[in-house]
Amino acid sequence: MDKRFVYADNAATTCVSSAVLEAMMPFLTQEYGNPSSIYAIGRRAQRAVEDARMQVAAALGAKPNEVFFTSGGSEADNWAIKGTLERLAPKGKRHVVTSAFEHHAVLHTVKYAGCDATYLPVGSDGIVDPQDVRKAIRPDTALVSIMFANNEIGTIQPIEEIGAVCKEAGILFHTDAVQAVGNVPIDVNALHIDMLSLSGHKLHAPKGVGALLCRRNVLPPNLIDGGGQEGGHRAGTENTAGIVGLGKAIELATADIPGHIARVTPLRDKLIAALSQIERSRLNGDPVRRLCGNVNFSFVGVEGESLLLMLDNAGICASSGSACTSGSLDPSHVLLAIGLTHEVAHGSLRLTISDETSEEDVDYIIATVPPIVSRLRAMSPLWERIQNA
């Protein structure tokens, strides 16, 4: 099979789509006015920001005045968590319920917020049990923050049930939906979500733009003070082109989610079926309750970074939860949270495909991965030990 370039790391970031770029271009060139300015190009920029706000709101069943643009998902997570604790701590609420496998934008924010935290365990299938959320809620709980879909293993959480538990208990519910938006139908009201974080660059908008959706009556105090942008709730001159791009991207990404799922799921399942044939391989996360583009495997006896470098040599972009790719000595906290040993977690491979992935791309991955795994195992003393055991 001829060498080709296959981008299979869409959970890391996506390309800006041509339709999104086209929508953005005028605001980088002619319509560059500051949306706070009074003259025509400023007013047109402001109108574009407000149109994007409506697009984001419509995509998720929210009201436009519940949408606050940020620099991305991490800022939205920081704002929701730090702000809510700042608001509720004086009322004696200093406890946060979250899960062990959240994105670091949530985990590290909770860790350094100086609050009391309960980190819910995650099942070996990569799903949080809503009953665990119920049991963890205390009289001093300020916030529950559970991700909509996991960024590494793609498992989709029972958000509606968790939302219902929180509503019943009268506790605020925040969800980091960075990976879910565009891949799962979301209606914040139906799912009882009070706050939702999203990011543009995961859905073919550019990097550096995201949003926090938040009910008006639970709006946290500002994370970023300054000018009166975003209704005085988030200062800083608007990233007009980025915001316009986000609006267009979310409109396109949510226009036909069932169609997107129907197109991508068979490719995902073809990959899963083929990689399952590799000896001592393991699919990480529930096979069904997972994002339509997410494939995450562990191959015993190989190390993830080596696997990625060899895949890169073959033209395939992917990622891994190995320690070596995180710059630390521990492998992915997500894989450890679902019960993998360090050895198995080091040998993980995440492939995240999209609408732009073709059947030929998938066939190329299927043809390329097994010989690389074999080559690495042939030079692995760990594999030798496993074979001899």
Partner: protein, 142 residues
Amino acid sequence: MLYSDKVLDHFTNPRNVGELPDANGVGEVGNAKCGDIMKMYLKIENGVVEDARFKTFGCGAAIATSSMATELIRGKPLDEALKLTNKAVVEALDGLPAVKVHCSVLAEQAIKAAISDYYRRQGVDPLPIVGDIGECDACHDL
């Protein structure tokens, strides 16, 4: 992770990879939990490292440092092979990212472990000659 061209070359085309059936000194360092295991096979004759091979479970830097380390000691007298430092391996690879320096430490330790094994097989206590190789954990502080 920015690897030098030399690291990528030694990763993509590792030199001296595989087992050495007639090795008379074999050493293994690292552990699976940390994600790095290096196994070094040496054939030592008349005080000279006639051949060196390796098997490594680990990242790109672990494989590249193993490859370079074997290149640097092949054909060398034992006392010179023993003097190989992790720094020399790093330099020969045109540098390593800071978080990967422990891989080069592992390569140095693997060679020392294999030479220790050789001395033990000869009935010689390796400790006064090779010294304390150090625990894998020690590299975590680097």
